[in-house]
Subunit: 399 residues, 2 copies
């Protein structure tokens, strides 16, 4: 709606952004490839590319195959032009990873958290220590780090400084960005962990090529990341996509959010285990943590009709939840991720079927329902893409 003004400079910036983005996501490519994919003229591409090479952002990488005629040079983003830090602030640990510009993992470090009481200052300390640790380990100068992306399992309100609300950590309006910014000058990008995971899948995993996709994450809790037009949808205050706390069973099971009948109260790992426990007439499910308890349930399903029923119900609930996403967002693709969804991968056909029963035919036929490709640890990878996304959109100019 509110269009920004355009000036002659912004033309160059836009074209730089287009070429850089294309090279980053689909590179290496030749100048001619860029001509074809962007619609720019040959001289314009050459001109911009020569700037980018001079700035060290892009490098030539050998000649392409040719059958007659001058062979074209391959171009690619220079892998060591800059480095990225990605952070995953989970409920049980803080994980800090360092990547080069080609998203190759260079170093990582992990700090366990006491889930009982997680102090924001402690988390901020871990993040800062982690940045020092990974840059030190890889021998990367802090000045060469383009930015730090942080994925947090909780609602993140963007504003002057990002503020975190995380029920599971007992956080309410924690000014995490301010706490971390006090200890570093690096640009910070804080976002919800589901959204960063979605971003990773979008660029490097099951979302590649889609313009409209929903990434549905099932772990202990349940969340979603919505990508519309290739970009993560954030809404007014960045908390869009709280799929786990949509009502699926009006007046149903109490959810830890305080409401009744939330999706999470049925298909979150904690809820699945609890439903199994109830189905066993209160007999506890063996296992020292949720992951092993869920696996116990899956093992039991081979022999126990009770366990089988719990899993069938889970697929049906999940399918209905997915159907809601399909009806509301009309995505090309729904990607199921999170550790519980991956453990329950065998339920995928049943989930598809249940979704087909509850969704409208037309949007359902447009959407494919798939499993994620990158696994759970991609939260940090996705977080590291946040500074890159900004950088690419800005045409490769640091703010």
């Amino acid at each position: 709606m509110e269009l920004a003004r355009a000036t002659n400079r912004s033309v160059r910036l836009r074209n730089r952004a287009a070429l850089l983005t294309k090279l980053f996501l689909d590179g290496p490519l030749t100048r001619q490839d860029l001509v074809r994919s962007t619609g720019l003229s040959q001289p314009a591409v050459s001109n911009v590319v020569s700037d980018l090479i001079e700035e060290g952002l892009v490098a030539e990488a050998g000649a392409a195959e040719s059958d007659g005629g001058r062979p074209s040079m391959m171009l690619r983003i220079a892998p060591r032009f800059a480095f990225l830090v990605g952070v995953d602030v989970g409920e049980t640990r803080v994980r800090v990873e360092l990547f080069d510009f080609a998203m190759t993992l260079l170093a990582s470090v992990e700090y366990p958290l006491d889930p009982a009481r997680t102090e924001p200052a402690e988390v901020a300390g871990h993040v800062l220590a982690g940045i020092d640790a990974v840059t030190g380990a890889a021998g990367v100068a802090p000045a060469d780090v383009l930015g730090v992306g942080i994925g947090v399992s909780g609602v993140v309100s963007q504003g002057e400084h990002a503020v975190v609300h995380a029920q599971a950590l007992g956080w309410d309006r924690v000014p995490l960005e301010r706490l971390i910014a006090a200890g570093t000058d690096l640009p910070l990008h804080i976002d919800n962990g589901a959204k960063t995971l979605g971003q990773a899948e979008m660029w490097f995993g099951a979302g590649r090529g889609a313009r409209h996709a929903v990434f549905a994450l099932v772990g202990s809790g349940v969340g979603a990341a919505v990508v519309t037009g290739g970009v993560t949808y954030r809404g007014a205050s960045s908390s869009a996509g709280e799929w786990g706390h949509t009502t699926l069973v009006y007046g149903g099971r109490p959810c830890r959010c305080g409401a009744l009948g939330c999706l999470e109260a049925y298909v979150g790992a904690e809820a699945i285990i609890e439903r199994y426990r109830e189905a066993r007439r209160g007999r506890p499910v063996p296992g020292e943590d949720e992951e092993s308890q869920l696996n116990a349930l899956i093992d039991d399903a081979a022999t126990s009709a009770t366990a089988r029923q719990v899993l069938d119900d889970t697929a049906a609930y999940l399918g209905a939840g997915v159907a809601n996403l399909i009806n509301l967002f009309n995505p090309e693709r729904v990607v199921l991720g999170g550790w519980a969804a991956m453990a329950l991968a065998d339920l995928l056909p049943a989930v598809r079927e249940a979704a087909g029963r509850q969704a409208l035919r037309q949007p359902y036929e447009q959407a494919s329902i798939e499993l994620c490709r990158l696994g759970v640890d991609a939260v940090a990878l996705g977080a590291a893409t946040l500074p890159i996304a900004r950088f690419l959109a800005d045409g490769g100019v640091r703010r």
Copy 2:
């Protein structure tokens, strides 16, 4: 993601689009206002504006107030630069309206439909006849009509030609655009009626100023239009926002879509009346049509606890549905519209309260829940804005 290339010409086009859009939505304005709001320099604004005046798109309209200094001229979109046709294809009638460029209604005509069997060709015929009728009545030359916007109560898939799926009309993959295009050369824009109504409320009603809003429509059926970043969200095949068929009560009442427990099966007017009938142990609700039956229920609520209970339940269901929208889309504003919602306006406080119980606190506090301002007939008005939106985005150049 896929950025379009920019050329020198596109700079002018973008700036024209920015000025025109601002003038259309917030005009009349002075050149100085435009300088301030767009960030363009004075000469650039003057230059573009003089082009627009020369083309007849914009006109000067008197001097503005001034306390010292040369008074600035007011600028406004020329109301008679072009005309728009808006069409509302409902379940019981086709309504065709003609507007000038200031969206003043000049003429309108209505054709009743037999809801039992509605032939696509018949509807197309009504639309074509309606275009002739309204332009004839207002003395507007067809060449001066910028385009025809059509809001249809059904799922509209955009493609080469728009295709309509409308359960209520018994339509499946009806190539409505092709049928109409056979009889006119005017540019056609077909969209879902809920989306066009949302567009009208967004530009001229309860949505003004919001960037993220959801328009929830409750009539005989239930639908929604989602606006993200000021633009209607369509999804992969334009069917996004099918709120009425999201599951609210897992395994609950059968819906006419074939699934169980859809929101529409609880809060659609038809469903409300049916629930009331059941609460009356099967005694039919008096009234010859849904509207009068719903009013009978509302009247009864003053004296009957049974009726009161049905309405209270309705507010609670609706609130839970709204909470789902808030959790998923994180809008600044939720606008309730549709004839049934307007009849039930007194339930608004109860709906707000119920939404607060089921939504997460953070996004709930960001969102206001309001009634629509334009009434039900704004479908055609919103449809008429479709050609304008295209025209403004193109910088005031016809394709």
